[in-house]
């Protein structure tokens, strides 16, 4: 962190999301600086995924504002947000199961294509080539023509991320990308994330505490819808409040 004020990629201001009486997200001020990997941890039900859903426009928010590159975005529909450059992956696997691997990625790339809405064109070569490049980046090029539901769990996770990055996001929101992965599969995932952080800002929700500690620039801890602590990995590890609410030592 240099002296010049860092550019802010994504910011929430007094964000609230209530489901009836339940305050799932309660007055959250969250700032993602450009080029950082910012993790959010917290016990189950703390409101992390709901927070993601608010950021990406899946739920209408109760109160507050969200800024992306200085612009207010809380009222912009999801698909437009994606085109602006805010994209997310999902906790539960969310790929096009019956399409092939390459089609999964290609459809995501095509969303940026000016001719996408024309029902009378053919699929152009450039899109297909770009799709293969992305498959190389996530290491799935050898499976490109397999139907994606036949992939292993870990590879499906990677494909999920591949689809997400195919939309060329500036801010990437990853929701538990390591859930259900074996240690081996994790070894495949971490380099991919490390590669991605070079080109985009990332928000990461994750339970695997070792992974979070090793990857993150900044960590926020959520509990009962509020951010109770924020800081670099060492600070968080030593924070008394965090240990009590989450790590449980």
């Amino acid at each position: 962190m240099s002296e010049t004020t860092p550019k802010i990629a994504l910011r929430s201001q007094n964000l609230k999301k209530h489901f009836g009486a339940i305050k799932a997200v309660d007055d959250v001020n969250f700032t993602l600086e450009e080029g950082t990997l910012h993790s959010i941890i917290g016990p189950n039900g703390a409101g992390k995924t709901t927070f993601f859903n608010c950021l990406t426009g899946k739920f209408p928010i109760t109160e507050g504002k969200i800024f992306f590159e200085g612009k207010e975005i809380q009222n912009i529909p999801t698909y437009k947000l994606v085109r602006l450059g805010v994209c997310r992956s999902f906790q539960i696997l969310n790929i096009f199961k019956k399409l092939t691997v390459v089609e999964n990625v290609r459809i995501a790339i095509q969303a940026r294509h000016p001719q996408r809405f024309n029902p009378f064109t053919k699929i152009d070569r450039k899109t297909s080539e770009e799709a293969e490049q992305i498959l190389e980046r996530i290491g799935l090029e050898s499976f490109k023509n397999s139907v994606s539901q036949e992939l292993s769990h870990g590879d499906q996770r990677l494909l999920e991320i591949g689809i997400t990055i195919a939309t060329a996001p500036k801010v990437l929101l990853l929701d538990e990308p390591a859930a259900g992965l074996s240690k081996q599969e994790l070894q495949k995932l971490i380099p991919v994330i490390n590669e991605l952080r070079k080109t985009m800002s990332i928000v990461l929700i994750e339970h695997d505490i070792d992974m979070v500690l090793s990857l993150s620039d900044i960590i926020s801890v959520m509990s009962f819808g509020k951010i109770i602590a924020e800081g670099c990995p060492e600070e968080i590890q030593n924070n008394e409040k965090v240990r009590k609410a989450y790590l449980g030592d």
Binding site: I22, N44, H153, L181, S182, K183, Q184, L247, G248
Partner: protein, 232 residues
């Protein structure tokens, strides 16, 4: 011998998942089933409970053959599965979730009021709907739901997955208590440390085969073995 799995082979569609898997569990014993993702642990659970029918081999529970029975028939023999996604009925209240699975049997004597003692936080949430519970609360309810069925054996599929460490400890403690009342447990876990704290014996699976079986201590005390079998 309560459960005796004798070299079963199971398939998902055409893909062969389990190869000659054999597992034995004694009455009142708790056993851990470890292994990497895709090793075949969940398929083994599903084969026992009847969601997958093994193509060959036999599964004997309390002297009765289970292969070929439907899940509900198997459950009525006295085995209950706590699935990894918990599968709490979201539209029923906590109390209703318990009532629906309440069953009397000679094997044990858990009642709903016992549950309130075991998990006081559930009593507080008695009238809340399943969908309103947090992950930890759902896991407690899932375990409680199996308990009031008064089964001889519980199969726990990844009971600690996605839970905050503090909740994991709480659940583990309860499982040990449950085992003390004479109910047999099979715990499927990737988080092997926690599972081995509960279980006295363990099986490690790899690529659909049993790669190791022995007392829990054999693994906890042997980092080499951990690395080899569990790729830690």
């Amino acid at each position: 011998m309560l459960l005796k799995i004798d070299s079963i082979n199971s398939y998902y569609g055409k893909s062969h998942i389990l190869y000659d898997v054999s597992i034995k569990v004694d009455r009142g014993e708790s056993v851990a089933l470890l292994g990497r993702n895709g090793a075949g642990k969940t398929t083994t659970m599903n084969s026992i409970i009847g969601l997958v029918t093994p193509k060959s081999g036999s599964i004997q529970f309390d002297g009765k053959e289970l292969v070929g029975l439907k899940p509900d028939q198997i459950v009525r023999q006295g085995i209950s599965l706590v699935p990894d996604t918990r599968r709490i009925f979201p539209n029923l209240t906590v109390l209703e979730n318990l009532k629906i699975s309440e069953r009397k049997s000679a094997d044990s004597n858990w009642t709903i009021s016992d549950i309130w003692e075991l998990f006081p936080e559930l009593l507080r949430l008695k009238a809340s709907r399943g969908r309103e519970l947090s992950g930890g609360e759902q896991q407690m309810l899932a375990v409680a739901r199996s308990l009031v069925g008064n089964h001889k054996m519980l199969l726990l599929d990844e009971p600690f997955e996605g839970l905050a460490p503090i909740i994991v400890k709480r659940i583990a403690k309860t499982l040990i208590e449950i085992q003390k009342t004479g109910i047999s447990l099979i715990i499927v876990e990737q988080n092997f440390r926690m599972a081995l704290e509960i279980a006295t014996r363990c099986y490690v699976m790899n690529l659909g085969r049993i790669a190791f079986d022995g007392p829990s201590s054999a693994i906890t005390e042997n980092p080499e073995l951990q690395k080899k079998l569990l790729a830690v």
